[in-house]
């Protein structure tokens, strides 16, 4: 049984945040958003005035924008019923036994070691991995790589920060980008200098001082000319959180000849609205790869995009979504071709079962003059039973004649013939279903780091055994 670490948290708060102004304390525990809360956030973080002004302006934009209605139903989202900053201590799920049973069972079945379970459950603070990655960290620092959290980066590298912050995703982009811009906290900041190629993937939890599972994370990645980096975040195991709204923003700048891969797997508990804006600007001969796994949350809306701004720039998106009971996975991506000889590829695989709904929204835009541009979009949906649904909204806006554009979409059930074939070899229906589903997502799973791939396969197996028959 996990120890409740309330005493530890109290001490952390005292050291990090000043309690010398009692009149501010009331905002910390209050739900809802207001100009005062935004100011308080900035004050508590000790930010420069330009950031405070930016936040306030973003809040105004947030207030004027309407909640989008073109996608899943967001009408139940109550902005006043959310904590936007520090939450009262007893609200956090500090007890292992308080976790929903299905999550505890999943952890056990997947075989997550005891210590990691506690970390994932938010019961204990992240174990000190200084010893483990200390030497790797030294190596990066010598090369001039910056890998820290966004709050620290604002203070430590102000010029670099200001040059790129909000340049890809302005607060006016959409309501949730505006919200994030007003209340953002945490996230990763990565800068890779010219020509530096980082071999091992940078993982989100390598960061020290990283607030766990931030709802309004703001990530900024800058890959300078000829450099290369692979960033990985998220977890295949289900993460329980009482925060019902997650609105992150990720901005990536890939300079000339550079390469960036961003891998995410999200498996938030089924009470979460995960509404994320992710965008990359790719310059000449640069490459951006999004690997996007959407397994959890109640409503997930995420459309990673690439703006291919320089000649020969490349954008790729591989996306898996799985929607079970009570879930809506609304995913897809955008590829905007703004220069000649640019190429893009989208592969989206989605699975729906037990009444889950998936939707693919893809946009490929090619402006006039992008001669020699090429794109290929493939979206496949698998529906496992009659209760579930899958829709696709592919869109191509091509304004240049001298390009190649191809699109294929399939929506289907698991073939009766395929099931029969496997069963005729002694494989049970459940096993056959999970073999087929794993085969269906294989082209994307192949691109995941090995541990993710293994866990994902086991998760799918678990889900299939639970749902069939």
């Amino acid at each position: 049984m996990a120890k409740v670490s309330t005493m530890q948290e109290n001490n952390d708060y005292k050291s990090k945040y000043s309690f010398s102004k009692p009149e501010h304390y009331v905002f910390k525990s209050k739900k809802g958003l207001s100009k005062a809360v935004v100011e308080e956030i900035s004050y508590q973080k000790g930010e420069p005035s330009w950031m405070r002004d930016f936040r306030l302006k973003s809040y105004e934009i947030f207030e004027t924008k309407k909640t989008p209605t073109w996608g899943p139903d967001l009408s139940e989202l109550n902005y006043d019923d959310i904590y936007y900053y520090i939450k009262p201590i007893d609200k956090k799920s500090a007890n292992w036994q308080d976790l929903p049973k299905e999550i505890r069972d999943t952890y056990k079945k997947i075989g997550i070691p005891e210590a990691e379970r506690k970390y994932l459950a938010g019961v204990e603070a992240q174990y000190d991995s200084e010893v483990i990655y200390g030497s790797i960290k030294k190596d990066w620092e010598e090369k001039g790589v910056i890998f820290t959290d966004t709050d620290t980066a604002l203070k430590k590298y102000p010029d670099l920060f200001k040059e790129y912050f909000a340049q890809a995703v302005p607060p006016s982009d959409n309501k949730f980008a505006a919200l994030n811009s007003a209340v953002w906290s945490g996230g990763s900041f990565i800068y890779v200098p010219k020509g530096v190629k980082i071999d091992i993937p940078l993982q989100a939890y390598f960061r020290i001082n990283s607030p766990q599972m931030g709802q309004f994370e703001r990530t900024l990645i800058i890959v300078d000319k000829g450099a290369q980096v692979h960033y990985v975040e998220g977890c295949t195991a289900p993460i329980y959180t009482s925060d019902s709204l997650h609105a992150a923003v990720v901005e990536i700048f890939v300079k000339k000849g550079a390469r960036c891969r961003y891998t995410t797997i999200q498996n938030w508990s089924k009470n979460v609205y995960n509404l994320v804006t992710k965008r990359a600007f790719v310059e000449e001969e640069g490459t951006m790869e999004w690997i996007d796994g959407n397994l959890g949350s109640k409503v997930n809306m995420k459309y990673p995009s690439c703006f291919l701004k320089g000649k020969g720039a490349r954008g790729e998106l591989l996306s898996i979504s799985s929607a079970g009971k009570g879930q809506e996975q609304d995913s897809g991506g955008k590829m905007i071709h703004l220069a000649p000889a640019t190429t893009s590829r989208i592969v989206s695989k989605s699975i729906s079962k037990d009444g889950g709904k998936t939707a693919f929204r893809g946009l490929v835009k090619m402006i006039k003059g992008v001669k020699g541009a090429k794109t290929h979009v493939q979206c496949n949906s698998l529906i496992l039973d009659e209760k579930s649904a899958a829709t696709t909204y592919p869109s191509m806006q091509i304004e240049e004649a001298d390009v190649e554009a191809a699109h294929e979409a399939t929506v289907g059930k698991i073939g009766e013939e395929q099931l029969f074939y496997l069963m005729s070899r002694g494989i049970t229906q459940n096993e056959a279903t999970s073999l087929i589903v794993n085969g269906f997502i294989d082209p994307i799973v192949k691109e995941l780091p090995l541990e993710y791939a293994i866990e994902l396969n086991r998760l799918i197996q678990l889900e299939m055994i639970g749902s069939v028959g």
């Binding site: 395929q418 496997l422 069963m423 070899r425 049970t428 229906q429 096993e431 085969g439």
Partner: protein, 255 residues
């Protein structure tokens, strides 16, 4: 013994098999021949438990156990194997992974090292390239590759009874020799085989002890190997015109 008793099979509401009876003992090879549309594949698929082919009356008994209504995987576990005429492709599921899962399910699961050894040996004998193992099952396979793949599974799974549905179709003469050699090797340990074929070419390499002629869902004639030669000479029409046998109990040569 694999016994089919007065089997009636329908698909899409239409009766295709109108009362067929057969008995196959371990170690026996029996051939089922007939013109297109006679229902040969329907029998094969109904035996394996394909959901589309409904057994409306009659029984199928495997070693005395009534398997008429049980699911395909349970029939396979009891020792029945069907080499299909048109094996379906399952992209993303590798041949190796599929076979391993299948062997484990049938509780014939060998330790991995031994599995790989046997697997490689069998592939070599069938003249299948090693790269085969990592391809999606039947995905992009040529006709010949599909048939070899079915026989590879037969060799590895070692069932008690095997129904081979037009294994010879689409094979060139060299491949036919290789495949039939593999089948004969599998028969050695005492598998009972029902060989379904349209042409008698394969029967030159695997001589059945008994031949049955199926026309329009009924067995119209049964006999020894010579019957196959008669068909080659005279054709199916002549045979079925000569005599129509209605649901007669067929004696196996060893009775």
């Amino acid at each position: 013994m694999l016994e089919i008793r007065d089997l009636h099979v329908s698909a899409d509401g239409k009766e295709i098999i109108k009362g067929v009876s057969l008995k196959i003992k371990p170690g026996e090879i029996q051939a089922l021949m007939g013109p297109n549309g006679s229902g040969k594949s329907s029998i094969a698929l109904a035996l394996a438990g394909h959901p589309h082919y409904k057994i409306t009356s009659g029984k199928v008994l495997l070693d005395g156990r009534n398997i008429t209504k049980i699911s395909p995987d349970k029939r396979a576990k009891l020792g029945l194997f069907l080499a299909m005429q048109h094996p379906v492709a399952i992209p993303g599921v590798s041949v190796a992974n599929f076979l391993r899962t299948s062997l484990c399910s049938s509780k014939k699961g060998s330790p991995t090292a031994k599995f790989v050894e046997t697997f490689k040996k069998d592939m070599k004998e069938l003249r299948i390239d090693e790269s085969f193992a990592s391809r999606g099952i039947n995905d992009g396979f040529s006709g010949g590759e599909k048939k070899k793949s079915e026989i590879l599974q037969l060799s590895l799974l070692k069932p008690k009874y095997a129904v081979l549905d037009e294994t010879d179709s689409g094979l060139d003469i060299d491949s036919l020799k290789i495949v039939t050699a593999a089948i004969k090797k599998a028969v050695g340990p005492g598998i009972g085989i029902l060989l379904i074929t349209h042409y008698q070419r394969i029967l030159k390499y695997i001589q059945p002890g008994f031949v049955h002629v199926l026309v329009d869902g009924r067995i119209v004639k049964s006999g020894g190997y010579k019957l196959a030669e008669e068909i080659e000479d005279k054709g199916y029409q002549a045979i079925s015109n000569a005599k129509i046998q209605m649901s007669k109990e067929i004696q196996s040569p060893n009775d």
